[in-house]
């Protein structure tokens, strides 16, 4: 079953075509890597799928809703973790979870249960009443990810979730991604770490507003006759 579909989806800013007729589908439960060089149009494409930016032309559906007409419904059905840390630094771990639970419209009892479960899952019992700003970056990022899943969205969008974290924490983060996907959540993720591209079920690579390649990592490597995703990326992005 498709949870994201785009057909010739396009976004123009004046004379500049940021996203040029991209067509692709993402299946439920898939980990989909959305790669591209800086300025290739990834963020613009992602914003259209998130309901944050109205496309210029084409068609797109996310979680069953139309990206032109039903952007508010899309926002309620997805989770989003931005590359800038977006929890409230001056609230505690518990307060942040409560706050976002409220924003997503969860019932009081639900928020309570989910908060306890989340704190236990992330092993944050000892710091639940500490301000978020006092936590190590890796913990913050895991917390931000879990909060993005608080309202049980069908899809979660992750924009460079692992930038700058240490190699062990980066891997722990990917275990959370695997776990979410195994539970049926579709994961749409961007990254500059090419080893992380290998963890995705399928990967698309954008170049100058177009999707130039889309396949499983192993088939992409085979197609380009190279041994790593890094080399696939270099071949495509350097033209």
């Amino acid at each position: 079953m498709e949870v994201i579909s785009a057909h010739n989806l396009t976004k123009k800013f004046g004379n500049f075509t940021a996203v040029n007729a991209i067509t692709f589908e993402v299946q439920a439960g898939e980990i989909f890597g959305f790669l591209g060089a800086n300025g290739a149009g990834k963020t613009t494409a992602m914003k259209m799928l998130n309901g944050l930016l109205l496309p210029t032309s084409g068609e797109g559906r996310v979680a069953g809703y139309d990206v032109f007409k039903e952007s508010e419904k899309i926002k309620k059905s997805i989770g989003y973790m931005s590359q800038r840390f977006s929890l409230y630094e001056d609230l505690t771990v518990r307060e942040n979870i409560h706050f976002f639970g409220g924003i997503y419209g969860l019932k009081r009892q639900q928020v309570k249960e989910k908060t306890n479960l989340l704190i236990k899952d992330l092993e944050l019992e000892n710091v639940e009443n500490q301000l978020v700003k006092s936590l190590p970056l890796g913990w913050k990022q895991r917390l931000a990810f879990s909060i993005a899943l608080l309202h049980d969205p069908r899809i979660v969008f992750l924009d460079e979730p692992t930038g700058g974290v240490d190699p062990i924490t980066r891997r722990q983060f990917w275990e959370l991604i695997y776990k979410a996907a195994a539970a049926g959540v579709t994961v749409f993720v961007t990254t500059h770490y090419m080893d992380e591209a290998e963890y995705c079920n399928r990967v698309s690579i954008m170049v100058d507003g177009k999707i130039e390649a889309l396949d499983t990592p192993s088939r992409l490597k085979e197609k380009f006759g190279v041994g790593s995703m890094d080399e696939v990326f270099l071949k495509l992005a350097r033209g």
Binding site: G36, A37, N38, G39, A40, Q83, P136, L137, E160, G163, G164, V165, D166, P167, I168, T169, R171, W174, E175, Y178, K179, A181, A182, H192, Y193, M194, D195, E198, Y199, P217, S218, S228, M229, D230, F233, L234, A237, R238
Partner: protein, 302 residues
């Protein structure tokens, strides 16, 4: 020749946070030296001390033979510093920024153009654009040009490639190799472990402490544990199953494989048999040479 940087037992705290904890390092003249570690490791604090912008609590440091506290003015003339955050004048054009940095160091663009030519040529089509309106990659090239235009003896680059895509990162390291060939010593920090191999020597840093200083190949050779690369059709299950294997020391995802360190030497066959019993298909197990990232993770856990 004068040692480029000599850092001796430097510590620096911010309130309760110990950003640097008894750090000692030496960078040789002409060396491309990498400081590698995650956010919050203390990289920027160390850079700011070396750039004479921050005083250490204890310890001392010399840059090109000058003391970072007493002789700061001498050091500032001789180094080029590119901070992690873009810090050029957003409202000046590309050319105005470069002219400004040349002027405050008492030189002109013409005089030192050979240093920045390769980089600046790529910026020329945009020379009248405001710096604030440049793309990330272009900003980075302009910042590097501005740090180079006074012909520094030593270049300090704090995370120049963070958030930059794989292609632009590769191009940036090619630029650094050219700068090094002009005889300029470079200290560069990065959170990307795969960039370590581009350096002559590297220091791994975590929680304010230096974990290791070595050449990239020396570091990799010092990895002592047996290391296997493992994969199967179901990588998530593989990770869980390998963690239950009684001979497993650590198991981490590593691109298309998992990297497995074991307690004592374990044959590939033995791992494969265990996994096949667990119901894995298409099992592949092979010995593999450690990467800088394997070393970093092993040192983190010590």
């Amino acid at each position: 020749m004068q040692i480029a940087i000599k850092i001796s037992n430097i510590s620096k705290s911010f309130g309760k946070v110990k950003a640097l904890d008894d750090v000692s390092l030496e960078v040789q003249p002409g060396e491309l030296f990498g400081l590698i570690g995650p956010d919050g490791a203390g990289k920027t604090t160390l850079f700011r001390i070396v750039a004479t912008l921050l005083l250490p609590d204890t310890g001392n440091a010399q840059v090109l033979g000058f003391d970072v506290v007493k002789d700061y003015a001498q050091i500032r003339k001789r180094i080029g510093y590119m901070p992690g955050r873009f810090s050029l004048y957003q409202d000046l054009s590309v050319q105005e920024n470069l002219e400004f940095f040349a002027a405050i160091f008492g030189t002109t663009i013409e005089q030192n153009y050979h240093l920045v030519k390769d980089i600046y040529d790529q910026l020329k089509p945009f020379k009248n654009r405001r710096a604030g309106a440049l793309s990330g990659g272009m900003k980075q090239k302009l910042a590097l040009s501005c740090a180079l235009i006074h012909q520094p003896e030593f270049l300090l680059l704090d995370e120049p490639t963070t958030g930059v895509d794989a292609v632009s990162r590769k191009e940036f390291w090619e630029m650094l190799a050219r700068i090094k060939s002009l005889g300029i010593s470079i200290l560069v920090s990065t959170p990307y472990m795969d960039e370590a191999s581009r350096c002559d020597r590297i220091a791994l840093i975590q929680h304010g402490k230096i974990l290791s200083v070595d050449t990239p190949s020396g570091l990799v050779k010092s990895f002592e544990k047996p290391l296997l690369a493992v994969r199967s059709a179901d990588m998530y299950k593989l990770l869980h199953d390998l963690r239950e294997f009684d001979k497993t020391d650590t198991a981490f995802p590593f691109g298309e494989y998992l990297h497995l360190t074991t307690k004592g030497r374990v044959g590939e066959e033995e791992v494969a048999v265990f996994l096949t019993k667990k119901g894995h298909e298409n099992v592949e197990v092979k010995p593999v040479v450690a990467t800088v990232e394997d070393c970093f993770m092993a040192l983190m856990q010590n």
